[in-house]
Subunit: 341 residues, 2 copies
DNA sequence: CACAAAAATGCAATCGATTGCATAACTTGC
DNA sequence: GCAAGTTATGCAATCGATTGCATTTTTGTG
């Protein structure tokens, strides 16, 4: 199979006996070129099977029309929804999306950032890893004025748009909901406190307790990595607590799930004995028995918003842009795990 | 914030009073360059904050070190697992992964393929959409000898590696399992028959029935798009069938889930009255009550394999490569929905 | 020491599109 | 019919790394 040589704008120019610059302009619908020649050139391009060499153009213009995305784990419903949303908008706007996962590993996150940087992405959308506490790898971008948008797990003190759900509000609503159900001893399984989102979920929870005149009890809060296994351990520990909880607010659905399953194993009734509320509305939460009350984060929409913002920044490099923190609406989805019939 | 000008190999060359070609070679550890100068150059590069301009290199070498991936829907556990696997290997090998979703829309799939092509991806990994029946958009790649690897939903008659699970085997095992449980009237909810995977799942099912001396009944098979809504409709229809099924083999877990939920609504007992088997082992299948017996496809491993194969092809463009169809092991995961205690 | 062979380095073209500026072609009004 | 103004096209440099080939330097050997 012989490689047919690619047609270039020069070939077209030669064929039509005009200059390459005219061809280049015509193909981009530059109004400098008359309608007539534009049409002629496009026709020829079509016939000659011309395909623009993006590499050459990128090289020349120093733009790649590519948006880099780093998420902790692709294979997680919330994140893949966000990616889906990013891709949706990016595609419409003629951008390409490059995706990497950090696996919550700082080293990897850092290396990926460097790679994306050297690959000259036009912008970077990311949710930082659980263990990320320094941000030199991101300075690379801000130093060169490459747009950065954070979502979900954001970093304070870096100039960038941030798309978050109102985690405080979420935590508050969740705990309030449990209080409204008559629960008095509400435990919480929280995530790593270096991540703002988990801090806020907890703060919301505490505020609700306070508003509900429920004294705060240190021993009712456990912090872990929110995995299935750790969730189970946390529940085990809570069950040995001097004051037995009658409700647990879990900072993610994975933990809520492990609580539901483990309590079922122990024949402790959910929600009668212990009510459970999760966070994120994973697909399984709806269908497990009992189905899990949780907070719905609009992942797809967050992705769309992130893409819109970054593309806007890429297209109009506004020097004195005001960076916003956009709070997406969060919604309590009440299901069986928290309400006695 | 002034943009510091980027350091180029020419800057380094000038600083060290040598030629740019030497610098270029040294940085790539070309053995033509002596150890001594190599070290000197690298040191200088480091100090001067040199970062290779990938765009220039790509342009020159006509390679992008980028692998394109097209999946029907990112936001689906199986697919995001595959992506995760692809990304895993690609990253290790210094490749970047560009991801797009077709939303099972042929137009979009086609456009994406064109875009990826013009963006000069070095290879394309894809699972075609439900409605894709023509393959001109893929000829673009095969014509130019750009490696192509299919996974899951593959296309026959195109020269490419294919990574599939043994859907026939899966269908067979599923139906056999139901027969072994004493079921005699086993219905099937199958997918679109233009997709080989669904054909094969059905063929496996039919073979098992045949081997089990169960007469085949046309009315016991329904084809649809395997969505949650359509699944419910299919079940409804099966319940009105002259011969009521005592088991349903669903071609995916989504449909199996809708069956489980709908039957529960109707107070029809699963598995006692009707046993259910799904396909794909979605995360929810494990935790729904009753948990769903299903076939586990090794998504992550499939992604890894796909990435390995395509990278191998990219690196050694072997003209007379033999294309293989790799069947990944598939495993029946027996859960509550198919076994009476 | 001479000279061939081997090793190291340099030269310069090249990839293809883009774009500031120069020039050419065409209008228009008087 | 011509100057001034518009509109359309062309010239040529440029982006930065790569690489075939030429050239220089070093090494080794008789």
């Amino acid at each position: 199979m012989t490689q047919k040589p690619e047609t270039t704008i020069h070939d077209i120019a030669r064929a039509l006996n005009i200059s390459a610059s005219t061809v280049s302009r015509a193909l981009k619908d530059n109004p400098l070129i008359s309608e007539a020649t534009r049409a002629k050139i496009k026709k020829a391009a079509q016939e000659m099977g011309y395909r623009p060499n993006t590499l050459a153009a990128n090289f020349r213009t120093k733009r790649t029309n590519t948006i880099g995305v780093i998420v902790p784990l692709i294979n997680r419903h919330f994140f893949s929804s966000v990616i889906s949303g990013i891709e949706d908008i990016a595609y419409q706007q003629g951008f390409t999306v490059t995706i990497s996962q950090s696996n919550d590993d700082f080293e990897k996150e850092s290396k990926i950032a460097q790679t994306l940087f050297t690959n000259r992405v036009d912008g970077l959308i990311l949710s930082i890893g659980m263990n990320t506490t320094t941000y030199d790898h991101l300075k690379l971008f801000s130093d060169r004025n490459i747009p950065l948008v954070f979502f979900d797990r954001v970093v304070e003190g870096i100039k960038a748009h941030k798309i978050v759900v109102d985690d405080f509000e979420g935590g508050y609503i969740a705990a309030k909901h449990l209080i409204d159900q008559g629960r008095k001893k509400i435990a919480m399984i929280g995530g790593p406190q270096n991540l703002r989102i988990y801090q806020n979920r907890q703060k919301g929870y505490m505020k609700a307790l306070n508003d509900g005149q429920i004294p705060f009890d240190e021993s009712m809060i456990i912090h872990n990595s929110l995995s299935r296994a750790e969730g189970k351990l946390a529940v085990k520990k809570l069950l040995q607590n001097p004051t037995l909880p009658d409700a647990i607010f879990c900072a993610n659905d994975t933990t809520a799930l492990s609580a539901v399953l483990f309590l079922r194993e122990l024949n402790i009734k959910v929600p009668e004995d212990i009510a459970i509320v999760g966070f994120s509305n994973e697909p399984f939460s709806e269908v497990v028995t009992p189905s899990i009350t949780t907070l719905q984060q609009p992942g797809f929409e967050m992705g769309q918003k992130a893409a819109e913002l970054i593309i806007q920044q890429i297209l109009h490099k506004d020097k004195n842009l005001k960076f916003e923190t956009i709070k997406m609406p969060i919604e309590l989805i009440v299901r069986e795990s928290s309400v006695c019939r």
